[in-house]
């Protein structure tokens, strides 16, 4: 849980200050590289962190001042303006998918490197 929270906070902070959406991939990728976890577990943590972070932020904007823009984007997407809430889910879903894939990639790289290093020792 702490790892998920740490990732989410780090994603939010880096995106806010460094102005790039790519942190939702880079942070879980780094955690995947660093942490000892199964690929599925790492991907789950990444999804929870990235998805939670984006869902939470989108929900915050939606509830405070983003209802109008969400409606317009829903209309642009063909969902219909009244389904503005779907944009919150879409943001959360995309954040989760990207973060999960990145975390999975991180763990996979880590596993491949460790295997090679272990093999070399043998």
């Amino acid at each position: 849980m702490i790892i998920i929270l740490a990732q989410a906070v780090l994603i939010a902070a880096l995106e806010w200050f460094l102005q790039s959406w790519l942190w939702v991939a880079l942070v879980p990728l780094a955690f995947g590289l660093a942490a000892q976890a199964s690929p599925a577990r790492a991907a789950g943590r990444g999804a929870a962190a990235g998805g939670g972070c984006w869902l939470g932020a989108a929900l915050f904007f939606y509830l405070t001042s983003g209802g109008i823009i969400a409606g317009r984007m829903a209309a642009m997407s063909g969902l219909g303006r009244s389904r503005d809430w779907l944009m919150v889910l879409l943001s959360g879903l995309l954040g989760a998918l990207v973060a999960a894939l990145a975390a999975y990639a991180g763990v996979s790289i880590r596993a491949a490197v460790r295997r090679q290093m272990t093999g070399e020792k043998k």
Partner: protein
């Protein structure tokens, strides 16, 4: 195996990131866009909050902005330079993408940010010489230090705003299209002014009319496209005496292109010509006809309606100026508005300021062209267009001394109205004093100041109505008009003969004008400026008579006029076309031979009061009936060799029906029988009812005017979801409230010029260009209902008012 898996997953991640980071055709970069920290979520209504303090680098003094309840900025500065700097900053804050898009569109730089799919659009703008025209404008400004400094200050304000932005703050459209704003320059300002000039005075029907003449002969063409057109009530009333001595106009001895010239291309019988174009209205009523004894000025310029709104409302106040109205986003000053002493509004003049000359090139290399018995050299302008995701394109645009030759040779994609091998001479390409004219108008204190401003008001030519608090009203059909023989430039001109070259300009002090007329009002609605007694030829293709005549009818009968009366008049939905023509048509439509359904519609039309109410079905029936009638009368006659040419205007069609019932044009050439007016009318009515049933189902609520013909206000960049839903509006083409299809009143304004100026106005949109803002489209519902808001016009930054939403203090910094 693990390496293989790792490589595969990393590859999948990279592919996903690339796919989400990059636009794909019309699909925006979804990763960036859905990111709540930097994507569309940041374009929310929080931007509507009023900052208490702002910093604009470059300000010399303090500026106070008072925001009213509709988010309109009222800017108070200590000097004019700061005023324009702040105007640039605040306009960009609300409308940056709109400014950028229109400048890119006009200057042919859209492909740079959108890609090859808009390259043809860019190429056309370059070939039409828009960048050349903008450069000529800047050359004029270079000799006008005050204007140069004010434009520079405005640009500095815009750039200060751009520099303050992080990517997350970019307007939504930048995020959807995935590009960043670039620096705003005087060249961009010039391009915007050229955009408006082209929109209001470009294109033309020279090619179509010439092809019509080639098919029908000159006498028939002149009869079908008469000038002045029938029923007209000119801006300057018929019979007005002109007390000046005009300079001699040229003989125009060779004012037409030679027979046999290649006239292929052209748009043929355009659907739009059946419905007619929308236009603008303005009028001013003298104090002796108003209840309070003060002049009242009214204006509603009709343009294509978009979101963000075309205009940006603003009040600009500094020592020597306190002006309120609407500005063109991206350009300094106020275009239509009022100050404490004067008010003005514009309608498009419609006079002909663009001629095409068919050139005779010496050979296929196009290096020389015949002129005045010899050969002249062409020049080439290298137009470089950056293409996003593609190779840079360099287009060599050919120029003669008359202007650009957009298409020396036939090629795919030539616009319908551009003749191949023709040079274009357009006033809009010349240097221009339009910005200086607006600057002077913003500060005008009386009639003399208005006239001084008009002396530099060149292109686009406008009917500028005026009223002042000292009791004057006036109107001028004002612009830079070529000195030509009567009818010269109506058809394509011979580009090898110097006899057709423009011989100079109509003196600015001799343009059609009317001051303090006995009838107690001035008005215009895009109709002919004068009768035939006016000594200069200005053009022939003006608006039809209906709106102008209706305005004159109401104002002639009016007494004790109030601003509220004028607001109501701007929403007038009476169709003079229906009132003029329908009784005669109904007289022809006797019940015998009509189906029961058709008889029912005839009965309803016979009881109709000719008012285009949104909830009525009669306007829908009459409108379709008229379209079918025009098609039935003209399409067969104008069809030659499989091609259709220009359709006569509605007023000519009405004249034919009312005054020439035996005209051979009424016979349908496609049939062996000889049809008369009665046959054609019955045929058209049957078709109209049939088509309406196909389009709207059986007669019922869906036939209501507002539902069957809604007004649509789309997004400027045609991005789905960012426009407004269809609107049911009372009014239509050729009606004072000329809201129809995608066009309509882009700003309504009524100003009472008393000791304390009172004004009302509304935009079909709002102040903000942010689709996530409450002020993006907050005026649309009331606009559709014909309502207006009283305009806050403050005398000082400290003045209190219940409708003030907040204040921002702006300081300079570095």
């Amino acid at each position: 195996m693990r390496w293989l898996k790792a490589v595969f997953v990393v590859f999948a991640l990279a592919a996903a990131i690339w796919a989400l980071h990059t636009p794909h055709g019309a699909i925006p970069p979804l990763g960036k866009l859905l990111d709540p920290f930097g994507g569309f979520w940041r374009n929310n209504a929080a931007a509507d909050n009023i900052p208490r303090k702002l910093l604009i680098p470059g300000l010399r003094g303090r500026v106070t902005v008072v925001w009213d309840d509709r988010h309109v900025p009222h800017i108070f500065a200590a000097n004019e330079r700061d005023l324009f700097l702040a105007q640039g900053f605040l306009t960009a804050r609300d409308r940056l993408w709109q400014m950028d898009f229109l400048s890119r569109y006009t200057g042919g730089r859209l492909a740079e940010v959108i890609g090859a799919r808009v390259l043809e659009m860019d190429l056309l703008q370059r070939r039409l010489g828009m960048t050349w025209g903008a450069e000529n404008f800047l050359n004029e400004i270079a000799g006008d230090p005050d204007m140069r400094d004010f434009i520079a200050a405005y640009c500095r304000g815009v750039n200060a705003y751009i520099e303050s932005l992080k990517p997350a703050d970019y307007p939504l459209e930048y995020k959807i299209l995935d590009y960043a704003p670039s620096r705003w320059t005087p060249f961009d300002v010039a391009l915007l002014l050229k955009y408006m000039a082209w929109y209001l005075s470009g294109e033309g029907r020279d090619l179509d009319l010439t092809r019509t003449r080639a098919a029908l002969g000159e006498a028939a063409t002149d009869a079908l496209f008469p000038f002045p057109a029938p029923f007209q009530e000119p801006v300057v009333p018929a019979g007005t005496k002109w007390d000046f001595v005009p300079p001699a106009a040229p003989a125009g001895r060779d004012r037409s292109v030679k027979p046999g010239t290649d006239l292929d291309g052209g748009q043929g019988f355009p659907a739009g010509s059946v419905a007619g174009l929308v236009g603008s209205n303005n009028w001013a009523v003298a104090g002796r006809k108003t209840k309070n004894g003060f002049p009242i000025l009214c204006g509603d310029p009709h343009l294509q309606l978009t979101l963000p709104s075309i205009w940006y409302e603003v009040q600009l106040s500094a020592p020597g100026v306190n002006v309120r109205g609407v500005s063109l986003p991206g350009s300094p000053g106020v275009v239509i508005g009022f100050n404490e002493r004067t008010a003005w509004s514009m309608t498009n003049a419609g006079s002909d300021v663009l001629d095409f000359y068919m050139m005779k090139f010496r050979d296929a290399a196009h290096r020389q062209y015949a002129w005045g018995g010899g050969w002249r050299q062409t020049s080439v302008r290298h137009e470089v267009i950056e293409v996003r995701g593609g190779k840079t394109v360099t287009e060599d645009v050919l120029y003669s001394h008359l202007g650009p030759v957009p298409f020396p040779e036939r090629r795919p994609g030539i616009p319908d109205w551009v003749p191949v091998g023709a040079a274009m001479r357009w006033v809009g390409h010349e240097s221009s004093g339009i910005l200086h004219a607006l600057y002077t108008l913003n500060r005008a204190l009386d009639l003399d100041d208005y006239k001084a401003a008009m002396a530099r008001f060149d292109c686009p030519a406008q009917n500028v109505a005026f009223a002042s608090s000292d009791g004057h009203i006036a109107i001028r059909h004002n612009g830079k008009f070529p000195l030509r023989a009567r009818g010269q430039g109506r058809y394509l001109l011979d580009g090898s003969s110097s006899a057709d070259e423009w011989a100079g300009w109509v003196p600015m002090e001799q343009v059609p004008c009317l001051e303090d007329p006995e009838r107690g009002f001035v008005s215009s609605a895009n109709q002919s400026p004068t009768d035939d007694a006016y000594p200069f030829y200005l053009g022939w293709d003006y608006g039809t008579f209906e709106r102008g005549a209706r305005i004159n009818e109401i104002l002639s009968a009016a007494a004790s006029v109030t601003p509220e009366d004028m607001i109501g008049m701007q929403g007038d939905a009476m169709s003079l076309r229906a009132r003029t023509i329908l009784p005669s048509l109904l007289g022809i439509l006797s019940p015998a031979g009509l189906k029961a359904e058709e008889q029912a519609r005839v009965r309803e039309l016979s009881r109709w009061d000719f008012v285009y109410r949104a909830e009525s079905t009669e306007p829908t029936v009459f409108n379709r009936f008229w379209i079918e009638l025009v098609l039935a009368i003209w399409s067969d006659d104008l069809e030659k060799g499989g091609k259709l040419f220009l359709a006569p205007a509605a007023d000519k069609t009405m004249e034919l029906i009312l005054r020439e019932p035996d005209s051979p044009y009424l016979d349908d050439l496609a049939t062996a029988a000889h049809e008369n007016l009665s046959d054609i009318v019955r045929l058209a009515f049957g078709r109209a009812i049939g088509h309406l049933a196909e389009d709207n189902g059986a007669f019922g609520p869906r036939w209501r005017w507002g539902l069957a013909n809604p007004v649509t206000i789309g997004h400027l960049g045609r991005i789905p979801g960012l426009g407004a839903p269809p609107l049911a509006v009372s009014g239509g083409r050729n009606i004072i409230n000329a809201a129809s299809g995608t066009h309509g009143p882009s700003w309504r304004m009524v100003v009472e010029m008393g000791p304390v100026v009172r004004a009302w106005g509304i935009l079909p949109g709002g102040a903000s260009g942010n689709p996530g803002s409450r002020f993006y489209d907050d005026g649309i519902r009331d606009w559709a209902a014909g309502k207006t808001y009283e305009l806050l016009f403050l005398q000082s930054a400290g003045e209190g008012h219940a409708r003030i939403a907040g204040r921002t203090e702006i300081g300079g910094g570095r």
